[in-house]
């Protein structure tokens, strides 16, 4: 959010009237592409040439875009500030003269509504599996946005790891991933769907377990059918179904109770 706000002020894009990140980004990129002929920086080009061939151009543009934005806030990581001088200041001046028109208001409204919406409050108050998704979904979306909008493809791995971990909690994240894939296929950049980073992001989802149980969730379900759970160390040697769980309350320590709930062998009385 911060990134976008900074960017907005330093880009040639006209003042935003809606929190349309895509349009905003596209205009920022277009402005940069217009200037590439005169202002190409060796550093950005070298870096992009190291990367995957198909993504070289986009990476160059992304890198330059990042430099435009970071130079305006004096980020020590930013390169020479050639880009900044080429940026017309009209948008900057407009946003200062009419701060309430900046899209930060819309973002604030969206954030407020997400935080205090009925479902957020409800799931936040009662701890359900869905409560975890309140964190997981925005986290995955944030990682994907960073991968796509900032040209940092390793964020796909972060997205994949978060999604894989959340499968232990709930399967609904699959719908988000499907929606993201459909969105990318429908509106692009389609190339992103087939990038090695995205394929790599699927890696964490297939960790461990026998080949037929690649997803943690399906591993869980298969294990549950055998009366044990994959998070228990004992899972590798499943107890005979049900006999290990006694009606006695011998294992009433919190860990033992949880273990009993998930079908782990009860400690001997």
């Amino acid at each position: 959010m911060m990134h976008c706000g900074v960017w907005e002020r330093s880009s040639t894009a006209p003042r935003m009237t809606a929190p349309s990140l895509g349009r905003h980004t596209e205009e920022g990129f277009r402005a940069i592409r217009r200037r590439r002929g005169v202002n190409l920086r060796g550093g950005a080009r070298t870096r992009s040439q190291v990367g995957r061939s198909g993504e070289a151009l986009d990476n160059t543009v992304h890198d330059e875009a990042r430099q435009v934005s970071s130079s305006s806030v004096g980020n020590p990581r930013s390169g020479p500030r050639v880009m900044r001088s080429a940026v017309p200041r009209t948008a900057d001046q407009q946003s200062h003269s009419a701060p309430w028109r900046r899209s930060t208001g819309s973002k604030g409204l969206a954030a407020w509504e997400y935080a205090f919406g009925s479902l957020t409050l409800s799931m936040g108050h009662v701890f359900l599996t869905a409560s975890v998704d309140l964190f997981v979904w925005p986290a995955v979306i944030l990682a994907v946005m960073r991968a796509l909008l900032r040209g940092r493809p390793w964020w796909w791995l972060v997205a994949g790891t978060i999604a894989a971990l959340s499968l232990y909690n709930k399967f609904l994240i699959v719908m988000l991933l499907a929606a993201l894939a459909i969105g990318l296929l429908a509106l692009g950049p389609r190339r992103a769907v087939w990038s090695p980073w995205v394929l790599g992001g699927r890696g964490p989802g297939s960790c461990g377990g026998p080949p037929e149980h690649h997803l943690p969730g399906s591993q869980w379900m298969a294990a549950a059918d055998h009366g044990c759970c994959p998070v228990c160390p004992q899972c590798r040697q499943c107890p005979p179904p049900h006999v290990a769980v006694s009606a006695s309350d011998a294992g009433s320590a919190p860990g033992a109770v949880l273990g009993r709930r998930f079908g782990c062998p009860a400690p001997s009385p």
Binding site: L109, G227, H242, A247
Partner: protein, 166 residues
Amino acid sequence: MTGGPSAASVVGAVISLPVIPLGVLGQTAIPGINSATPDQVGWPAYVDQVGEVVHQQGEEDDLVILASNYGEAGAIDRFREGQLPAVYSGHNALYSSGPPAEPVKAVVVVGAMLEKVRPYFAGCTIARSLDNGTDVDNEEQGEPIAVCTGRLVGWNSIWPALRHLD
């Protein structure tokens, strides 16, 4: 600008958080809008009532509680404080904790599961119904607490019939 989100937040809080006094919650539309709110009501009372029925059975050693869902099972486990026998349920993952031990011939059945349990016992008697005392209608309100005795078949035959994923 802030009026919109503030109003929305107030509505969200009233629907989702326990801000309406318990005494009047049953007269509002909120339990019908958000089932998570009424489902937070009455658990200690329900467990007390289950406890009454259990203790009426005297010193029966091999008596366990069969709960219809994880809400009941969790509440009984949380509030029994060592005073009640173990609780079992066929709901979701609790199913994989397995059935009661084989010597168990009598159970106290809580909730709507009773009709599924009944065929496997010589007799089931409804002792009372669950009542949270606040006139808030939720999934448990009015459901039976029953005592079933004289188990007819082995637990391994009964248990799969009590399984439900929902």
